[in-house]
Amino acid sequence: MRFTKKDILDIESLSVDEINLILDTAYKMKEISIRPIKKVPTLRGKTVVLFFYEPSTRTRISFDIAAKRLSADSLSIATSTSSIVKGETLADTAKTLEAMNPDIIVLRHSSAGTPHLLARLVKSSIINAGDGMHAHPTQALLDLMTVREKKGKISGLRIAIIGDISHSRVARSNITGFTKMGAEVVIAGPPTMIPKGIESLGASVSYNVDEAICDADVIMMLRIQKERQKSFLFPTEREYSKVYGLTKKRVENARSDVLIMHPGPVNRGVEIAYEVVDGPYSIILDQVTNGVAVRMALLYLVSGGARNAGAD
């Protein structure tokens, strides 16, 4: 199968075959990262711009490492202010960048749909590294990879995603990704954090964490943001961790082969207990490792894969 997508904007626009190809490619890429010399010349001469409109450490570094291991030239543009506030529109910034002929632009932005806008404006490939509450496709792909690696399959598994679904692009992309690959997804959290119509993405909804995680093969916890208290979404962190957090006791009641995931950064003691993060079921660091592999795979595939790559 040949990969023909120019951009990676969301999981919705990827087919099952394309997702499988990305994951298969990522497994091959993973090997490079454990070599003593962690570099292949595959993307030599390609320019990757990491365009981050929103603060991010792990995703940016993950992409940066991925690009460097493939010998691409990567550079970061980080800005915490929106284009409008800055006085230059995103369209102008994009066209300016375009004039310098980058091959791939990795975009993180606080506004949903911005990668789609950018993809319409420029010829470079766009990889969405998270857009507002909309999508985080590379996170979903690394999560799919990690689960497939640990369980040997995705189809037929029960995935519980717990927390602030409303504000989570990770949740949206994972609901779409896991259901597309044949898993069953149940989401749970306080009703204030379950957005209207989320069922249309394919998830079933529960307001009870114990119910949701019972029989789950995978429990994915989402980061809870303190400032949501201001919009009355939950009263206190104390109450949240009690009612919706993944406590040690809840893990004890889960399946004996359960996998516990978290996209990070973790609020230890809030959505997830200290011991659980470091506990035997946690695969949180495997997610990070696979993140590099998935991003290497995507950089390689949108560059034209074997067609355009330099000699390895």
């Binding site: 806008l117 909309h134 999508a135 692009r169 119509g197």
Partner: protein
Amino acid sequence: MLVLIKGGRVIDPGNLDGIVDILIKNGKIAEIKEQGSGVEEQGSGVEVIDASGKIVTPGLIDMHVHLREPGHEYKETIKSGCLAAAHGGFTAICPMPNTNPVNDNGQITEYILKKAGVADTVRVYPVAAISKGLNGKSLCEYGELKEAGAIAFSDDGNPVSNSQLMRRAMEYAKGFNMPIISHCENLDLAANGVVNEGAVATSMGLAGIPNAAESIMVMRDIALCELTASRIHIAHVSTKESVLAIRNAKKRGVKVTAETAPHYFTLTEDAIKDYNTNAKMNPPLRSSQDRETILKGLADGTIDVIATDHAPHSYIEKEVEFDQAANGIIGLETSVSLSLKLVHDGVISLTGLVEKMSTNPAKILGLDTGITAGRPADISIIDPDLSYKIDSSKFQSLSRNTPFNGWDMKGKAVLTMVSGKILFDEI
């Protein structure tokens, strides 16, 4: 100077409906004659407009538009807006006060009217602000504004959040027999929302605005209207619950009137897919259920008026991140065609269309209009069957923010006349 509009079906609801000829003399309607009664022979100086197969109506009025002058003339000037109106079949428009500076005092109202006079096209009836600076804190000087030429009051764009101020505005406006036009939106509920709350917003990761953000304020304004025994006009109705509340209030005899815009009865939230900022407005496009209820409200008269909420923005404000894109779309040059679709679909009759686009807005605003001898010849002619494709590049408006570009339409405004002067003629 004599003009004869010949052979058209003249629809002036409550007054006449039939194929008659209209003779216009010195800008006024001189005579309404049975067909072929020989007016042409009266003199060689008669200009004849052949309106056969077309609908001749009292001048259409768009009681809700935004001209961007003063302040944002790159989006629309009073003149370009007036030309857009004329080309869309309107003889009169009511610009909302959210200009910069705000139309909250007599000088600004006079400035707008002066500019409109220079443009010398359609009639302009400025809507002045309810509160100074549209900030919801203190009342404007309604007496002075009326004297300067304001026709109604609205803080459109901003809701009047303070219920006491809204109560007093309704009472105070009553003394001048002028309507308050309410932009109904609860800002706490709307919060940072940019589209309708629901499955589409959720899957696109956009913050939603619930229906209740609108209907809660519609219900409040109805309650205040009852309390003050005044009247209220609800702007741009977008939700099912608002329609139900207004229908119910009308049954009780509350003097509430309402408008909706073509986009609310034509489109649903699905139009925002692919992050199309030309489908972003406030209130947002709603669900198909809301649209269905609005169609019913138009059919049964709950919604009195079709107004466009013509909101010009340049691409600078639209070719940006979705949540930062400006709200609103232009509507003057597409409204008649989109409204005629309601007629073709059997939702309203042609008479109903004329009521909602001319008779009812005139009544609400207290304008003396109609096709009778002695009145100024403000006349629109519509070809209900003309097929064409909407081409926004040909618009008179300075802006192009419409989701309807490229749509195939049946029916179009083809002639606009104000005081006997032809402003637009495509016959």
